[in-house]
């Protein structure tokens, strides 16, 4: 790889500088801020999945103690323009107009139809109980298939419930199926779930009428995107809007979207000319944080007797709630399923059909690994099914069909261009790591004793480092470019301002490592600042596994120029040729002898305070900004493979997760520990979706499990040991060579778990295909209930 000249830190598990601060309770989350004249907003949310507001009487609520304002949708609409969440490159996508506070009609249980602002949150909640609302319930469309059939159309302005459809086919799909020796077919169901962040959604908006400025403290992944949105929808010049995201307690994609209640909060700040805070409590989080992954997919695969995969044929139906989510749309998840299914394999024929439909449930949108967990799970499940029917070992069947490592650059059947992947190396490494053949032998022995273990493998490809092709080309004002400003301080410290944000995942730590190497300083001399549109360069923020690859490259390039500029100053001070000098370990050295010539502290002192001692025609430039945009490929595809070992208790249907492996290739590994923990955390979220997490709705659209007692997030006691390893194939599209690692764990885990469970159930001729795999579903498959 093209590492920086002195790679002291890149590649090492340097402890994160912010971990100590967070562990000592000195983080600053939005709710920690203390602001004068602050008031609190709560929302009156629809108890119905679909209902018309006949009468909304806020008078009694308005008269309650501490209440500043009680506002309906019509009133607030004067301060906040509505939006329509469509993108130009998703052809034909449609969505109704959405207001910050719904007007006339609520379309899901939890949609806000009024707001109460009061001196305290408790007072606001007291007043909430005094709102009188007369509802006329409307038919709720909660089933995706019913929605697609369109008997009941949710939005009167449309003639059907279809938000977005896409069809894609190569030329020889029917011929491939016709000549196949074996065609396997299965239908898969994925339950809705959500990303449960430790810190809920939070926003504190402060409007200063004298300056017409809006400052928004927000727990967000994308401050600049939000700056643009607040500016355009509240009609405040962009330069007058500042979005600050200090510490963020987890986001996972949940905090990269525009939420109506957050827009309403900002609009209320403008209307009331004072700071207003909204903190989503856990009940609201479950009702209104975006959900994801409600899909029903029919998948067919054609292969030969010899074990060659010829074609996939996919029909995906997904229900997204009543609105496409602004500004990224709710068409992306299904689109990813279409783009990625079958991805690791070398078949040439592919057909996919996607229908994204409106329903009267909470909105769905992009959550960690967007579409990947679904595409990987269905691909890998049907690959296992075919292997079983062909009598081939699942690992061997995969080996025959993986795109070979020497086939790159490669374009997959659905047209995804990939620079360089390492499926074969990853597979080989995985099988050694897990001692595959020994496990298989053990499995057979244990079955004789009534112990049913299963081994599941899931290969995957993953979209990371997205180029403008992801959102920008569709007209979304979302930056795929990021920037880094590095400044040498007079003391020789380096301040590093980056537009990518920290969500608790350690982004700032890797930027410090890259900056230290690029400039030539020790890592403790680097201070990283992120999450403030008033300070950092412009950029996209954190999503789609882009922080390290895009933000990191910007830091590297900025650091290299700063190093050169430092040497310019050193050359002048030392009256030496700058080619003979370099920066190492906080000092300017003579490259021939390695001798220290000048400390950066001294260099900084002279450059900033005694420039009078430098030549008249010399001006130092010790602050540098560089940007980076991924180009050439739409995405820096990564790959990896996971395996799961589980044991099914065939009497109870309980699954014990015994061990999990992941070998993945995110290119240059900047901080191995942080990457491994990203993978582990991702695997846990993948396991959550596969095993326990499910937003359960009744037939009339009522969420049944809106608390952490009833919605089952995965917990440490049930998690398996995880063994993580890497193959390193740096991308040549950047000098750093880093690709994304944040979503790989989540992408592959559900598929590996599904295959492991079905492998354990093999002796009983039983299969499960509906996630999450509850004991009841497993007992059902076993015919025990």
């Amino acid at each position: 790889m093209n590492a920086p000249a002195f790679a002291n830190y890149v590649g090492q598990s340097i402890p994160r500088a912010n971990a100590r601060r967070l562990l000592q309770g000195r983080g600053t989350y939005t709710d920690d801020l203390r602001v004068a004249r602050l008031v609190h907003v709560v929302f009156f949310r629809s108890p119905h999945a679909h209902a018309r507001i006949v009468k909304l009487d806020l008078a009694q609520a308005r008269a309650m103690p501490g209440v500043i304002a009680a506002i309906d949708g019509v009133t607030l609409a004067k301060f906040c323009k509505p939006w329509v969440a469509v993108l130009g490159h998703l052809k034909g996508i449609k969505s109704p107009t959405q207001h910050a506070i719904a007007i006339d009609r609520a379309c899901w249980q939890g949609e806000a139809v009024a707001a109460i602002v009061a001196q305290t949150r408790a007072q606001a909640e007291d007043a909430l109980e005094k709102i009188e609302c007369e509802w006329q319930p409307l038919p709720a469309v909660t089933d995706m298939e019913a929605s697609l059939a369109g008997t009941q159309v949710i939005h009167p302005e449309f003639s059907d419930n279809i938000c977005f459809s896409r069809e894609l086919a190569t030329d020889g799909v029917d011929a491939a199926f016709a000549k196949a020796d074996l065609v396997v077919e299965e239908t898969y169901d994925f339950g809705r779930h959500t990303g449960v962040t430790l810190e809920g959604r939070a926003l504190l908006a402060d409007y200063n009428a004298a300056e017409n400025t809006l400052t928004v403290h927000q727990s967000t992944q994308a401050p600049h995107m939000m700056q643009d949105i607040f500016s355009r929808h509240l009609d405040i010049p962009e330069g007058n809007v500042r979005v600050i995201a200090r510490d963020v307690g987890g986001s996972f994609g949940i905090k990269v979207h525009v939420y109506a209640d957050e827009m309403a909060t900002a609009a209320l700040a403008v209307m009331l000319r004072r700071p207003v805070k909204f903190i989503a409590d856990r009940l609201e989080s479950f009702l209104t944080d975006i959900h994801a992954r409600e899909h029903k997919i029919k998948l067919r695969m054609a292969c030969t007797k010899a074990g060659e995969i010829l074609a996939f044929d996919l029909d995906d139906l997904t229900g997204i709630g009543p609105y496409s989510v602004y500004p990224r749309t709710s068409g992306i998840e299904g689109n990813q399923v279409v783009n990625l299914t079958g991805g690791p394999y070398k078949h040439q024929q592919y057909r996919a059909k996607l229908n994204v439909v409106f329903t009267n449930k909470n909105l769905t949108c992009q959550y960690r690994a967007v579409g990947h967990p679904i595409a990987v799970a269905i691909t890998e499940a049907i690959v296992d099914l075919a292997a079983n029917k062909l009598g081939l070992d699942p690992a061997e069947f995969r080996k025959r069909n993986l795109v070979p490592d020497d086939a790159y650059p490669y374009t997959s059947a659905p047209g995804m261009k990939m620079e360089k992947l390492s499926h074969q190396q990853c597979m080989d490494k995985l099988l050694i790591l897990m001692n595959y053949s020994v496990l298989r032998t053990e499995q057979i022995e244990l079955r004789k004793r009534g112990v049913y273990r299963g081994i599941g493998i899931a290969a995957m490809i993953e979209v990371t480092n997205p180029s403008p092709a992801f959102y920008g080309v569709g007209g979304a004002r979302i930056s795929s470019q990021d920037g880094a400003t590095l400044r040498l301080e007079p003391t020789g410290m380096v301040t590093c301002l980056v537009s990518v944000t920290e969500q608790g995942q350690g982004t700032e730590a890797i930027f410090a490592q890259i900056a230290a190497d690029a400039v030539g300083v020790s890592v403790d001399r680097v201070r990283v600042i992120t999450g403030d549109t008033g300070i950092t360069p412009y950029g996209g923020g954190t999503w789609a596994s882009r922080g390290a690859g895009i933000g990191g490259e910007a830091v590297l390039q900025s650091g290299k120029v700063l190093r050169a500029n430092i040497l310019d100053v050193a050359g002048v001070i030392l009256q030496a040729s700058r080619e003979m000098l370099d920066v190492r370990d906080n000092h300017v050295i003579d490259v021939r002898t390695g001798n220290v010539k000048l400390s950066l502290t001294e260099l900084g002192r002279i450059a900033y305070f005694r420039p009078d001692t430098l030549p008249l025609d010399f001006q130092s430039e010790l602050m540098v900004t560089r940007h980076y945009t991924p180009r050439g490929y739409g995405f820096a595809f990564t790959n990896g493979i996971q395996a799961s070992l589980i044991e099914v208790d065939i009497d109870t249907g309980f699954v014990k997760l015994l061990k999990h492996w992941c070998v993945e290739d995110c290119g240059t590994v900047i901080n191995p520990q942080l990457v491994d923990e990203q993978i582990r955390g991702g695997i846990v979220q993948g396991i959550g979706g596969a095993m326990t997490e499910h937003c359960l709705y009744s037939g009339d659209g009522q969420l049944q499990n809106g608390t952490l007692a009833d919605y089952l997030v995965p917990m440490a006691a049930e998690m398996p040991d995880m063994i993580i390893d890497h193959v390193i194939t740096p991308t040549k599209t950047s000098e750093l060579g880093a690709k994304g690692a944040g979503e790989a764990g989540t992408a592959g885990a559900p598929g590996a778990i599904m295959n492991a469970i079905n492998d354990a159930l093999l002796p009983f001729n039983a299969r499960v295909t509906a996630q999450p795999f509850t004991p009841e579903r497993i007992l059902g498959a076993l015919g025990k209930i």
């Binding site: 007291d126 109980e129 009833d710 089952l712 917990m715 006691a717 007992l779 209930i785």
Partner: protein
């Protein structure tokens, strides 16, 4: 998620508690460990006028052994029960069950008496109390009465506790020699309320079983002693055929309600599986 307004009184002694209960009746709620009450308040599922905080009445916390009985103070925390050497020695069933109760932070605050007063059908302590033939001591201004655990639990979150009463302690006879116990439950995550569980005790002598008590949690509106099922094992011993018959009988004795993730059929099936396992454990 903020509690509606309420008044708060920290009781210094039981007399104050009785006084407040007499005055406020149903409009007052007793606050002990707060592990169920506080979430209910914050979610506005409950809106009492007054909270009577009894958590400082520490004379009603702790475990004592007297005259062949164990006395457990109502304010004894779950954690303290788990740590009690006396309980481990005399009533190991409780020590085994405590590991299934929520998580350490909750066990440090939640109380034995609070759990009984709450009477969640899936909770561990009510079932244990029924199995162990516990007597629940209820005190009010007019005096103290004792109610057998089996009579105390009357239905879903319903008990014999009157609005003017508090639980002060629980008295449990120490089982004689030859008794064995077992506690099993199935929860999808460690610490969750059980889908279904069973607390069991029996006198085992060689291959004969007597005084078998099987009490199920999460299998009805209250802890259910499966009397016929128990009797069947006592008569026929532990054999595969007895088990099959007992599992049939059990289905008639339990009346579980479906929960979010498990149907009635699943719960019954799991109760039958646990029955086989618990009997195996008792016989082992």
């Amino acid at each position: 998620m903020k509690a509606p307004p309420f008044a708060y009184a920290r009781a210094r002694n039981l007399a104050e508690v009785f006084e407040l209960l007499e005055r406020h009746g149903d409009n007052a709620k007793i606050l002990a460990g707060g592990q169920s009450l506080m979430p209910a308040l914050n979610m506005r599922l409950s809106s009492p006028e007054l909270l009577i905080d009894i958590s400082r009445l520490q004379e009603h916390a702790g475990v004592q052994v007297k005259d062949g009985h164990v006395h457990i103070g109502a304010l004894t925390t779950h954690a303290a029960i788990g740590e009690s050497a006396d309980l481990r020695k005399h009533l190991p069933l409780l020590a085994d069950a405590v590991e299934h109760i929520a998580h350490p932070a909750i066990r440090n605050c939640g109380t034995f008496g609070g759990s009984l007063a709450m009477a969640d059908p899936a909770a561990e302590w009510p079932a244990c109390c029924v199995v162990l033939d516990a007597q629940i001591m209820l005190a009010s201004k007019s005096g103290t009465r004792r109610v057998a655990a089996q009579d105390f639990f009357q239905g879903l979150y319903a008990t014999a506790l009157q609005p003017n009463e508090v639980i002060t302690e629980v008295v449990i006879p120490i089982p004689g020699a030859g008794y064995r116990h077992a506690f099993l439950e199935l929860a999808r995550r460690r610490g969750d309320y059980a889908i279904v569980g069973v607390a069991a005790m029996a006198k085992i002598s060689g291959t004969s079983i007597s005084d078998l008590r099987l009490v199920y949690l999460g299998a009805s509106e209250k802890p259910v002693p499966a009397l016929e099922t128990s009797q069947l094992f006592v008569l026929k011993g532990f054999s595969e055929s007895a088990l099959k018959e007992a599992q049939q009988t059990l289905a008639g004795e339990l009346d579980p309600a479906a929960d979010l993730y498990s149907s009635v059929a699943t719960k019954l099936h799991l109760a039958q599986v646990l029955t086989a396992r618990v009997m195996k454990q008792l016989a082992a």
